[in-house]
Symmetry: C2
Subunit: 429 residues, 2 copies
């Protein structure tokens, strides 16, 4: 694992726009679905997934049957995770509020759930039951009445929809599930087809075609952020257990070759020990080829003069996941400006958050923790401003409103106030 | 003004992607600024604005001088509006929270302001001081330490930066202002130049080039939503004053020919009276050509059987601005699902909210009120999840976490937990 002073390290980030060919293809798929509806969905399923889809919608019987195909320990773990995720997201709920003014006016914000949300779930080996929970439960907690899932009818080597995915969906309260994947699924959720009503927002991970399609329909519907490769930064001092640090770095590295795992430490001793542990633990990993390449290309041990410098480096990296394994981790919490999820202390290994503790595992990647947040209940709600102006307030402030409107050359705005002042002012006098 | 049953009306909406030529031009401008920095900004100012820019940054002396160029009543109105906007947005602030679990774990959400926000202000006649307040104050209330404004050095017929804009900026606490506009300004805010440090988010209205540039850099930085033409829907019964309704419809129609003004009413009598009033009031408007075309092309009076049907029509239209002028307007508030700002009662004319009451006038257009919100303090904050897992929690839940990780084929995730259970479990025993 390469080791260097943090000052010599720089991270290249690139927003993924896809090739011209990929963009053209996605645009054409979306337009086909928009014009032809279900017929296009069936044609693309045949063309891309090699499947002649019968019923687009997964039946209740299929969902029930899925329960018989998963084992007890899986079901118990999913239920435990779902309860924790629900509990954490319930704390985020906000209520509408009113501000009563002395002049009788009432101003406020109304908070409402979105009406219909579409959840994309990739097919095959990229289908993670934990992601189904993490995407669906915040929408459910927000009060979204219609949560719908789309997932490919099959993927290379995998026939049909994984029963674990169906069970996770059902446990998260999702029972409207369609066999459709790729850019065509995104198009169906954005524009609607005969079988699939249009949604207000599309969330969930996918391949480059899904990501480009989401970018394309953004504005017609809302989308979540486009996820980049997964990242972890561990900030540790010499109180940290090198074996824990190495195991946590590798749990990130096994995701894919583009994943990034970085240790930031003022301890030369820890740096050496972690490098040795990474090499040792890597040997026996099932995904050692992926993890080894990730560590080689995108991993690093960055040495710093102090934990304070370490915090500055962390803020520049703006990692998706940050672990702080130092003597008193809460001491540094206030100084962390940019991080998706912050794991404090030796027992808060990243998989605790990936699967079970309750906070969301859908996190800002690629440095976007500078301005983005973990997926949360707010992402499934919208606000409306409420303005109930009193007659007294209008008479009191009307002239100032007119002055501003006239300054901006918007005379009809001014007159909408003037006409009221004339009538109501007289009525008062 | 055309009049029809609501059931016969349909609204065509189109997301604006710009022409290929415009997209190519924007991409090329952005790449030039990214590679050449300030030199490109100066070249484009010469090319597009016809200005040889000296200092890019507006000096403190210029800002002070601007105060001498605006009149007292403008300054008083701006200060009144700013105070109201600040008060309303202060109510939106949220605090970080912690959830202490019985097993000693602590879960939470940390709320932090973005570090640096860029505000785009168009030049010339599209430069609205009210928009400066509406964009800058929520960022200021959120606690953003660096709020920076960019605006073209000149526009057709307008020399330099309007002093009213400089005063509005200063009143909103913005004193870092650069003379740069168009796609090149967006590029400077996204990537930074020698003179202009990169921002984390770009907000504010602009022409098609600005909108395309924002769409392009989205992901490198955050952006606000792309604004479409302005819209108003008035839901009224026969208690409404036809002259007020007409004046409010026209205040929307004067914005531009694409603006949309729609009355929804169960009252034939009101429908007729408003049509007559619109025609009458239109005559004497300075912007009557624009307003007349807007009313002709995008205006409508939609008749409905009942206010309940009217509410359904409103929810389908999902207007940016909604006025409810009925006998008891709060009676319908709960049923309104989609609207950016809701104005209740006869004294809540839309300009009250455009300028003065306090709620934001940057609102979701083009039907996006289905999933978007008025600009607010949350748009300038980000969240981080906090996970402090206790040893007890890890020993208690470790096996379930391992089961889920192994089910997903992520063995390194499982081992990061196992290695701790082995060490800590033994230490306990």
């Amino acid at each position: 694992m390469r080791m260097m002073p943090a000052s010599e390290f720089s991270l290249q980030r690139q927003v993924e726009y896809g090739s011209e060919e990929q963009n053209r293809s996605v645009k054409s798929i979306i337009e086909s679905v928009r014009l032809e509806g279900d017929a296009a969905l069936r044609r693309f399923a045949q063309q891309f997934d090699g499947v002649a889809v019968g019923e687009l919608r997964v039946s209740e019987a299929e969902i029930e049957a899925a329960y018989a195909q998963v084992d007890e320990s899986f079901l118990a773990a999913i239920r435990g995770a779902a309860a924790n995720i629900r509990r954490f997201h319930e704390k985020q709920k906000r209520t509408s509020w009113m501000d009563l003014q002395p002049d009788g006016s009432i101003l406020g914000q109304v908070m409402r759930p979105l009406k219909r949300v579409g959840l994309y779930v990739p097919g095959g080996k990229a289908a993670y039951p934990s992601s189904v929970l993490m995407n669906a439960i915040p929408a459910q907690v927000a009060g979204v009445p219609e949560i719908v899932m789309v997932t490919p009818p099959a993927t290379a080597g995998v026939e049909g929809i994984d029963p674990h995915i169906l069970v996770a969906a059902a446990e998260a309260g999702v029972r409207e599930i369609y066999r459709v994947g790729g850019a065509q699924a995104v198009a169906a959720l954005a524009y609607g087809t005969e079988s699939i009503p249009a949604a207000d927002k599309i969330v969930g991970p996918g391949n480059i075609y899904v990501a480009l399609a989401k970018r394309y329909v953004f504005g017609v519907v809302d989308i979540d952020s486009i996820a980049g490769p997964s990242e972890i930064v561990v900030l540790a001092d010499d109180t940290a257990d090198a074996a824990y640090v190495a195991a946590d770095l590798l749990s990130q590295a096994e995701h894919d070759e583009m994943a990034s795992a970085i240790l930031v430490t003022p301890s030369q001793q820890l740096a050496q020990a972690v490098a040795a542990e990474v090499a040792r633990q890597l040997e026996s990993l099932p995904k050692r080829d992926i993890a080894a390449q990730s560590i080689r290309d995108n991993g690093a041990i960055l040495t710093v003069a102090s934990l304070e410098e370490g915090v500055r480096v962390v803020n520049q990296l703006a990692p998706e996941h940050l672990e702080i394994l130092v003597a008193d981790p809460f001491q540094y919490l206030s100084a962390i400006e940019n991080a998706g999820a912050i794991f404090l202390g030796p027992y808060s290994s990243e998989p605790v958050g990936d699967y079970f503790a309750g906070p969301n595992h859908v996190l800002p990647t690629n440095g976007t923790a500078r301005f983005s947040s973990p997926l949360n209940v707010d992402h499934f709600m919208k606000k409306s401003s409420v303005i109930y102006y009193s007659k007294e307030a209008l008479l009191q402030n009307g002239e100032q409103i007119i002055a501003l409107a006239q300054h901006e050359g918007l005379e009809a705005h001014a007159r909408a106030i003037q006409i009221r002042l004339q009538k109501e002012g007289n009525a008062r006098g």
